[in-house]
């Protein structure tokens, strides 16, 4: 729901570096011979036979032949130096291919580097070679949607960023992110009404003014009011290419002087840590700070310092089972062991789980198509899932109606030793379901449709 804001930090420097970076795609090579492991099947959590050997043959679609299925992975890795999505792709394909692949076809991840500004070029490369795009994300994903729709390429993203891309056509996004609903209605209601009732009349929001996410941040502020909060402070800080925050103290002072008790922060963990240091030094303690999903990871704990014990930091983690509790959830535990086996030394992160869920969705949908592996078949199979859980990695998602409100959610809280589940009264397993629904009064930017590019579903086969 909330885009990878770390990427946005990188956007700040935009093309000082991008000038020297070229779009490169590196087709992976299948790791196991087709005949090698036909008898094995790969199950994941509650999903059975995700990958297995078989006799699928023929070349019904671009990127598919008798021996392999080639899918594209969009990533800013070369620009941000963040390997999460590439690692997830390698772990999944290695594991899947070791079990025989998709009905005997080896799964090949074709990594497309966007180098930040060349999303369109990267997508065009995927258009010319791949069967679908899977498990990817790019900061400027919104500019590549038209290109993807013109070539009728189905997309199974790990994460979406710009509003033009979220819930766009031919997309199977394993996350409830209805563009016309406020995604954090349940979480905010809990914070303001139940956990800290005194905070509802004193909430504030502070966000970076990146043109990419500004619209989303503004909508989030609206949602905060919509579920019963009273906004006493709205702040905007520079993250665009010609400015950066030199000093967080004025923001901290503003938060203090407006008497903000609950703060929604929309930026990187490092920035939040710097802001909280100033708040803590002023001896100003808030009831809660929404540190956002981007802070859910070891980085925030490392940089948080003394504020971790002084302030109350929370994060809604989009209905994914928390990583630190992996041992009590079979699917998460299985993913941890897959990482230990195929990517030793790499940490499992929330974004990696999101990517994995996208890969699982793709593979289990493709598996149903057999020899006749077409884009339409995979897409239809994916959107027929009305309660997708990624084998147990996450709370159920209804892919048939992408524009639907969040029903189940969960939240974490930061402590000096790490993130732990917050006391949010889960009622369905690790999640709290039955979240209140808040429909946004006005949607600032609509997702792209096939009609926008002059295409229709009848051409999608």
């Amino acid at each position: 729901v909330r885009p990878q804001i770390r990427i946005l930090a990188a956007v700040a420097a935009a093309a000082v570096l991008a000038a020297g970076c070229g779009r490169a795609s590196s087709p992976g090579t299948p790791t196991t011979a087709k005949s090698g492991a036909k008898t094995v099947t790969a199950n994941f959590g509650t999903l059975s036979r995700v990958c297995h050997g078989g006799n699928a043959s023929g070349a019904p679609e671009q990127g598919v032949n008798s021996s392999q299925v080639e899918v594209g992975v969009m990533t800013d890795e070369q620009y941000t130096h963040d390997p999460t999505l590439v690692t997830a792709a390698h772990v999944f394909t290695d594991w899947c291919n070791a079990a025989g692949g998709i009905d005997g076809r080896q799964l090949v991840a074709d990594i497309h580097q966007t180098d930040l500004l060349d999303s369109v070029g990267a997508m065009a490369a995927a258009c010319s070679a791949d069967f679908a795009t899977v498990g990817g994300s790019a900061a400027l994903d919104g500019i590549a949607v038209d290109t993807r729709l013109k070539c009728l390429l189905p997309d199974f993203p790990a994460q979406t960023v710009m509003p033009q891309n979220t819930d766009s056509a031919l997309q199977a996004y394993p996350l409830t992110d209805g563009y016309s609903y406020a995604p954090y209605a349940g979480y905010f209601t809990w914070l303001m009404k139940q956990a800290y009732p005194g905070s509802a009349a004193h909430v504030g929001i502070l966000y970076g003014n990146s043109p990419i996410t500004l619209a989303l941040a503004v909508q989030e502020g609206e949602a905060l009011t919509g579920v019963g909060g009273t906004e006493v402070y709205t702040g905007e800080f520079p993250v665009s290419a010609s400015g950066a925050v030199t000093d967080w103290t004025p923001y901290a002072e503003a938060i203090k002087s407006k008497g903000v008790k609950g703060l929604v922060f929309y930026g990187t963990p490092q920035w939040l840590a710097a802001l909280e240091l100033d708040l803590t030094n002023m001896n100003y303690k808030l009831d809660w700070i929404d540190a956002n999903t981007n802070s859910y990871g070891p980085a925030f704990i490392q940089v948080g310092g003394k504020s971790l014990s002084y302030q109350h930091n929370y994060a809604d983690i989009d209905g994914y089972y928390p990583v630190e509790k992996a041992s009590s959830n079979p699917a998460t535990a299985e993913m941890v062991s897959l990482y230990a086996k195929y990517a030793p030394g790499q940490k499992l992160t929330l974004q990696a789980m999101q990517a994995f869920s996208a890969w699982l969705l793709f593979a289990s949908s493709a598996e149903t198509c057999g020899s006749n592996l077409t884009r339409r078949c995979v897409y239809d199979a994916a959107i027929s899932q009305t309660a997708w859980t990624g084998g147990g990695l996450q709370s159920p998602v209804n892919l048939a109606t992408p524009d639907s409100p969040v029903n189940c959610w969960n939240a974490e809280m930061a402590t000096p030793t790490g993130w732990v589940p917050a006391p949010f009264d889960p009622n369905t397993g690790a999640y709290r379901c039955g979240a209140p629904v808040y429909k946004l009064p006005k949607v600032l930017a609509l997702p792209e449709t096939l009609a926008d590019v002059g295409e229709s579903m009848s051409n999608f086969r």
């Binding site: 420097a13 000082v16 710009m162 290419a241 010609s242 030199t246 004025p250 002087s257």
Partner: protein, 704 residues
């Protein structure tokens, strides 16, 4: 009242940071005449190095501080002075400015290469465990107090150094008149060295003080640009007390706006654009006097021949056709930027090359062209392209009017401020209404664009758009060449040579400046529109101030006075480096540093690389056999590629071989003409007198 006081004190703590940064900027500028865009980046490197010593290797803080401030920073300053700035000392303002842009880009790339940006790093604040100081309604941490104290010490120290010591007087004398300072026994070189050492040390102090308070992030620390610049401009880039006052004004303004500006979607951007707006205002209000450091020799602007221009335009179109036929769809989009970026770079030729006006907002103008095209030309209406050019040109003219008072570095800063206002405020606006008309720049994200309909022909496929972009560039290049040959072009060059003389001879400064700004913005706007067509959708980030810096960098390296610079810049930015990374991804880090290194060639080719390239090719042009061989060779390679006998890389390799062989052949056949080696005194005697010798002599005498 308490609250007002609290924000005031907070503003002072921000002001201290700006004061430290901007006093370093002012020191380098007053003594070397270089406005250092890489000042923040040098501080960033120091902060990272300090982190490496204290946290990474566990050295004690005093030792680490001593090593960074007394060894590493001076060494870096000396290296910059010796290898980066000295070679361009005698060149123009644009060239010196661009070297610091190159440094900025190189430093960020190097830091990201050495210190993986995905590892979270923190520097502890100084005296983190001591209780903060309570001052009335607010608290000041020891870290902030130290920053303020350091700022004051720096200001006082610099004042004493510059006005009370011999080396200080030497440093000030050097920037006023290098030659004269040298004659009186001062050592300009030593003064420059001291300035760079001190400047880098100040940057290091700033970096180490600021990094714990914000975050150890290479780009963020390097780009604390506009606010600190504003403070420096308050001091007119030379008065330290006024710079200090400027820092207080900017710091307090930001603080009070944070506290008191009402929340409103139209206004919230103002808080962020405020430093840039203030910078613009400060530039316009404060008298700047005559810019100093005009000691560089003005270089003649080459006059392109009609034949040469026609050949060049034809070559551009041919290369567009060749690329359109050999590249895949994806590559057509990636490399398509060759021609559109070339148009943006070409806009620098009349503006900076002919008229001598440095603008850092050319890419923003391209952004305006792109937005206009995307909205008005949603169905490819041909007139929308004209509208995109016209509206960009109009915005360019609007920028030119207030900028009339500015020149040189001040103009560069003013246009940078304009670009920053667009980045921070205008381009991020959601849709809004002004006088009943609905405006929406980037639709809260991205806008889609299609190809144009021209004379009933719908240019929509990627290859068509590639050829279309090449034709646009060819026409614009020819127009700029024609401009050089026209009366207006000669007037612009006169304007560059001396504004006073231009006005005295009856030229109208306002008209000439507005016209050339509008022309350049129009060319840029065309580039933006073409870029949008090729990309199919664009977003604001692609047109930011920082994204425009590499274009300016490469255009200067290419040579601002040559029409070929446009094509050179586009090709360099979107071409070879991209290709190299595509073959060998491990070269990505090297490629990221390349634009920074490219600045180093300026010292060797002060006129730019394009004239050097042209000189290299001139033996071929005069040799019919070589020309034929070149054309036949290239055509053959192209045909082989079209027939799928060879692949794209083989085509590229073959083309390189053909060019190298014909060049070698023609050079060997060249009669030993060594005009350049004949001394001025013997012109007309040892070789025939040439018409252009008269201008060369006149300039030689005028330039001293």
């Amino acid at each position: 009242m308490d609250q007002f006081l609290a924000f005031g004190i907070v503003g002072l703590s921000t002001a201290a940071i700006y004061a430290v940064i901007s006093s370093g900027l002012v020191l380098t500028y007053t003594t070397t005449g270089v406005f250092n865009f890489a000042h923040g980046a040098a501080g960033m490197l120091a902060a990272f190095f300090y982190w490496q010593l204290t946290i990474g290797w566990g050295w004690p803080v005093p030792l680490a501080l001593a090593v960074v401030l007394l060894v590493a920073a001076p060494a870096l300053g000396l290296l910059i002075e010796r290898f980066v700035m000295r070679p361009v000392q005698g060149l123009g303002e644009a060239e010196r400015l661009v070297m610091t842009v190159a440094l900025l880009s190189g430093f960020i790339a190097a830091a990201e290469w050495i210190w993986n940006p995905n590892v979270a790093r923190t520097l502890p604040t100084f005296f983190a465990n001591s209780a903060p100081i309570q001052i009335g309604p607010t608290t000041i941490t020891w870290d902030q107090a130290i920053t303020m104290i350091v700022a004051v010490v720096v200001a006082v120290g610099l004042r004493i150094l510059l006005y009370r010591t011999r080396i200080g007087a030497e440093m000030r004398a050097t920037v006023d008149d290098r030659a004269l300072a040298g004659l009186t026994g001062a050592d300009p070189l030593r003064a420059n060295r001291v300035a760079w050492i001190l400047g880098t040390q100040l940057a290091a102090i700033g970096g180490i003080l600021i990094a714990p308070q914000i975050t150890l992030d290479a780009t963020q620390l390097s780009l604390l640009i506009v606010s600190a610049y504003t403070a420096a401009v308050f001091g007119r880039l030379r008065s330290l007390p006024l710079t200090f006052a400027g820092a207080v004004v900017v710091g307090c303004m930001e603080s009070y706006l944070t506290g008191y500006l009402p929340s409103n979607s139209l206004l919230s951007g103002i808080r962020l654009a405020a430093p840039a707006l203030l910078l613009f205002a400060a530039l316009l209000v404060f008298p700047h006097g005559r810019l100093r450091g005009r000691s560089q020799r003005l270089r003649p602007v080459p006059v392109p021949t009609m034949r040469g221009t026609a050949l060049f335009a034809a070559a551009i179109v041919m290369s567009g056709i060749v690329l359109a036929t050999v590249l895949s769809t994806a590559d057509l989009i990636t490399y398509g930027a060759i021609f559109s970026l070339a148009l943006v770079a070409l806009s620098y030729v009349p503006l900076a090359g002919y008229a001598g006006q440095i603008s850092l907002c050319q890419l923003s103008m391209a952004g305006i062209g792109a937005v206009v095209w995307a909205h008005l030309g949603a169905n490819g209406q041909w007139w929308a392209l004209a509208a995109a050019v016209a509206i960009s040109a109009a915005v360019g003219a609007i920028v030119a009017v207030p900028a009339l008072r500015l020149s040189g570095i001040y103009l560069a800063l003013g246009t940078a401020a304009f670009a920053a206002v667009l980045d921070q405020w205008i381009f991020t606006l959601q849709s809004f209404k002004v006088l009943g008309v609905q405006f929406s720049f980037f639709n809260g994200g991205s806008v889609s664009a299609v190809g144009p309909d021209i004379f009933g022909f719908h240019v929509s496929s990627e290859p068509d758009l590639m050829v279309f972009a090449a034709i646009c560039l060819a026409l614009a290049s020819a127009a700029v060449a024609a401009l050089r040959r026209s009366r207006f072009g000669r007037r612009l060059i006169a304007l560059r040579d001396s504004e006073a003389a231009y006005a005295m001879l009856g030229g109208r400064l306002l008209v000439a400046r507005v016209a050339v700004f509008a022309l350049a913005a129009g060319i840029s706007g065309l580039g933006g529109a073409v870029y949008a067509m090729q990309e199919q959708a664009v977003t604001a980030v692609q047109f930011s101030l920082v994204a425009g810096l590499p274009i300016f960098l490469i255009a200067v390296v290419g040579g601002l006075a040559s029409v070929g610079t446009g094509m050179f810049t586009g090709t360099t930015l979107a071409g070879p480096l991209t290709g190299i990374v595509a073959i060998a991804p491990w070269t990505a880090n090297l490629a990221a540093i390349a634009p920074g290194l490219s600045g180093l060639s300026l010292g060797r080719n002060p006129d730019g690389l394009v004239p050097a390239l042209r000189r290299g090719f001139s033996p071929v042009a005069g040799n019919p056999v070589a020309v034929t061989a070149l054309l036949v060779g290239l055509t053959l390679a192209w045909v082989l590629r079209l027939a799928h006998v060879i692949n794209g890389w083989a085509l590229f390799g073959l083309a390189v071989v053909v060019v190298v062989v014909t060049l070698g052949y023609a050079a060997a056949r060249q009669p030993g003409a060594a005009d350049a080696e004949i001394e001025v005194d013997w012109w007309g005697l040892q070789r025939p007198w040439q018409p252009e010798d008269e201008e060369a002599l006149a300039r030689g005498i005028a330039g001293g």
